[in-house]
């Protein structure tokens, strides 16, 4: 490890354990009792719409909010009763909260000075080099761009070798391009210093790009927790299916649940779904929701229907709109199975474009049954599509 990488007592990162933690404001419950373990050294994302309780959860770890119930345990030590300034965690605030009266060097040195470190010059220099701001040490925060301020905020927190670094929507104020760049930067820093990162965001792409583990929160509860790919491929609720990317959800009746594959009827056609990919125990006669991601569906013009291989789920429909966006074309297809929704979404890579696939064309949609997922039909089918993503652009 290089000299710039913090390697103090907490340098390797520790695990965070939340046990039955909850927060109520009067009659409003911001966070329902929550059990969560963030493994040491991992990049953990709390993902959700504004008001879902993700920031409150983060602030309870930081000590900026007092939990109504439950406890916060860092590396086996219960820190619930400790004020923020006695916790071995540091926060990168949403608006950075840099001290306007101090220059960049003093902002970064703040934490060290408070802990009585005498010579801070070398450490601050190294930390500013890590975030590539070495030559701006004597500037004031207001003289820096948003991206630079963001990196100062990261440096100011990291220099203390926290056991856990908390990031509260740190990229929310940046424009899209800079955000993508900072995502890679933060990921690089995390890999380099090995500290446990807990990152709060409403941007599902950001969460999936950066985090090893994502907890999707909704209305004060964790809906699902897992690796980004698992969440995306196998959502367990309609909220996760819709909030993380886009999903086509089809209401279907179970005809036969005896084999490895469930046999389902949707509208007038039959669909198959591996029983293992269904989140609810399905018996013949039950209703379930079959989900399929837009990019997993292939489009074939109805005239070429016989070229579709056997063993794929097939659905008939008519293209209602097509938007060309460069790498792919996004189609909206009216289909009898798409009940109550605007239609089925299909993303086709622009490899070989069929000129007949224009609005009005009769098409066959088909996909590998193993790419589908089954959800409990008792949920709101549109949960997670109409959420408020907050004031920041996404």
């Amino acid at each position: 490890m290089t000299a710039t990488a913090p390697s103090g007592p907490g340098g390797s990162g520790t695990d965070v354990r939340l046990a039955g933690i909850s927060k109520r404001y009067g009659a409003f419950t911001a966070v329902h009792p929550l059990d969560l373990t963030v493994p040491a050294g991992s990049f953990f994302a709390l993902l959700g719409a504004s008001g879902c309780g993700k920031t409150t959860t983060l602030r309870m770890i930081a000590g900026l909010e007092t939990p109504t119930t439950g406890s916060v345990v860092l590396a086996g030590r219960d820190v619930t009763a400790l004020p923020p300034y006695k916790r071995p965690v540091n926060t990168v605030f949403q608006s950075y909260a840099l001290f306007p009266h101090l220059d960049i060097h003093e902002n970064v040195a703040f934490g060290l000075r408070r802990r009585g470190v005498k010579s801070v010059r070398k450490q601050v220099g190294e930390m500013l080099d890590l975030v590539q701001l070495g030559d701006l040490a004597r500037r004031r925060p207001h003289e820096l761009s948003g991206g630079q301020q963001q990196r100062v905020a990261v440096a100011r927190a990291l220099i203390n070798h926290p056991q856990v670094l908390l990031l509260d929507e740190p990229l929310g104020a940046l424009d899209l391009k800079l955000r993508r760049q900072m995502q890679l930067e933060l990921k690089r820093i995390q890999t380099e210093v090995g500290i446990t990162f807990v990152h709060v965001t409403h941007d599902q792409e950001e969460a999936m790009t950066m985090a090893d583990t994502v907890a999707v929160m909704n209305a004060g509860r964790v809906e699902q927790l897992g690796a980004p790919a698992d969440l995306y491929e196998t959502p367990r609720t309609t909220f996760v299916a819709n909030f993380l990317g886009t999903s086509n959800l089809i209401t279907a009746d179970v005809l036969d649940a005896s084999g490895d594959d469930l046999v389902l009827r949707a509208a007038d056609g039959k669909l198959a779904l591996p029983a293992a990919r269904c989140q609810v125990p399905a018996r013949a006669g039950d209703k379930i929701l079959v989900g399929i991601r837009p990019e997993k569906i292939a489009l074939t013009h109805a005239d070429d229907a016989e070229t579709v291989p056997d063993g794929r789920n097939r659905v008939r429909g008519r293209i209602s709109s097509a938007s060309f966006i460069g790498v792919s074309t996004q189609y909206l297809v009216d289909a009898p199975v798409a009940t109550g929704t605007a239609g089925l979404s299909v993303y086709a890579q622009n490899v070989e474009r069929d000129p007949r696939l224009v609005p009005g064309a009769e098409v066959l949609l088909h996909w590998n049954p193993g790419h589908g997922f089954g959800l409990d039909a008792a949920q709101r089918i549109e949960a997670g599509t109409d959420v408020d993503l907050g004031e920041a652009p996404s």
């Binding site: 000590g63 923020p84 300034y85 909260a97 840099l98 001290f99 703040f110 408070r114 927190a157």
Partner: protein
């Protein structure tokens, strides 16, 4: 294209004309204020300046004789009053800061929904005339009054007598009364700028300081107080400058032993009718205050103030 070609020409002609008149707008807006200042500030100032170097008497009339010795005479005669004015004003300013800062802090950060009410209460004394309020203090601090009785039975007056700020177990006609009057009268001028600068501080900076291992006291010392400096500087100036030139408090609450420079100027002008000395004293006071303020702003750092 051929028909469009002549079109830009008139546009090019009118645009600068419009911007010329637009450029004049700020000056036109400044005009009333400048005239006002010329008439009621610059003209009297020039008149006073000329008065200060005149000699003569009321009977024979005053003439400009460039008699600068008036300044020296005024200073050598009235330096005790100068020193006293600055001393009283400094103590009153310090007391205002000590009383006003916690109050402004409380209103800015802790008052919640009571904030507006508390601000109204801070400003409320202005609804009554300065003179009447000071006369009220005269009654409150009077020898047979409740304050003297209470403080005397608590033996506080014995202590203040020993310290030399009161005399003979009374409050009126003592330095304490004058300083208290000054403090009371100028306290809102301290609180308002303090509140404004404290209220502007982003609460997340306090959280950030806490997150970076600063306890409440350190957070105040390293973050809140430095960020409130513009308010401290503005408040101390707004308190110190008028307090140094004040004469009402010393007149009503003090005795001849507590005369401030304002009282001297007032009596030279209105009783002794020695206009040159009065004018010279006024200019000396102005110079002293300007000098002190300049040094103070240099030390306190004007960068964030203006």
């Amino acid at each position: 294209m051929t028909t469009a070609a002549p079109a830009p020409a008139p546009v090019r002609e009118t645009a600068p004309a419009r911007s010329r008149s637009a450029r004049r707008v700020p000056y036109r807006l400044l005009l009333p204020g400048i005239l006002w200042l010329l008439l009621f500030f610059v003209a009297p100032l020039v008149y006073q300046a000329s008065t200060s170097v005149q000699t003569g008497s009321l009977e024979d009339g005053f003439r400009v004789t460039w008699h600068f010795a008036t300044y020296w005479d005024a200073l050598s005669t009235y330096w005790p009053q100068f020193l006293r004015s600055i001393g009283y004003a400094a103590v009153a300013t310090a007391l205002c800061l000590l009383l006003g800062y916690p109050l402004a802090y409380l209103i800015a950060f802790r008052a919640g929904r009571w904030r507006t009410l508390l601000m109204v209460l801070v400003i409320a004394p202005f609804f009554t005339s300065f003179l009447i309020r000071t006369l009220a203090w005269k009654t409150i601090l009077s020898d047979g009054g409740p304050v003297v009785g209470a403080l005397d039975s608590l033996h506080v007056l014995g202590l203040t007598d020993a310290l030399g700020v009161t005399e003979g177990h009374r409050l009126l006609a003592t330095p304490l009364a004058v300083v208290c009057g000054l403090t009371y009268n100028f306290l809102p001028f301290m609180i308002l700028p303090l509140y404004t600068s404290l209220e502007r501080i982003d609460g997340r900076l306090h959280e950030a300081a806490g997150d970076l291992y600063a306890g409440p006291l350190t957070t105040f010392r390293r973050v809140t107080f430095p960020l409130s400096m513009p308010g401290v500087v503005a408040g101390t100036l707004l308190t110190f400058i008028p307090a140094a030139g004040d004469y009402i408090n010393a007149e009503l609450l003090g005795s001849p032993d507590q005369k401030m420079i304002g009282n001297v100027v007032q009596s030279q002008f209105l009783r002794v009718l020695d206009y040159p000395t009065a004018a010279a004293l006024s200019f000396l006071l102005m110079a002293v205050i300007l000098g002190m303020v300049t040094v103070y702003l240099r030390r306190a750092g004007t960068e964030d103030v203006v």
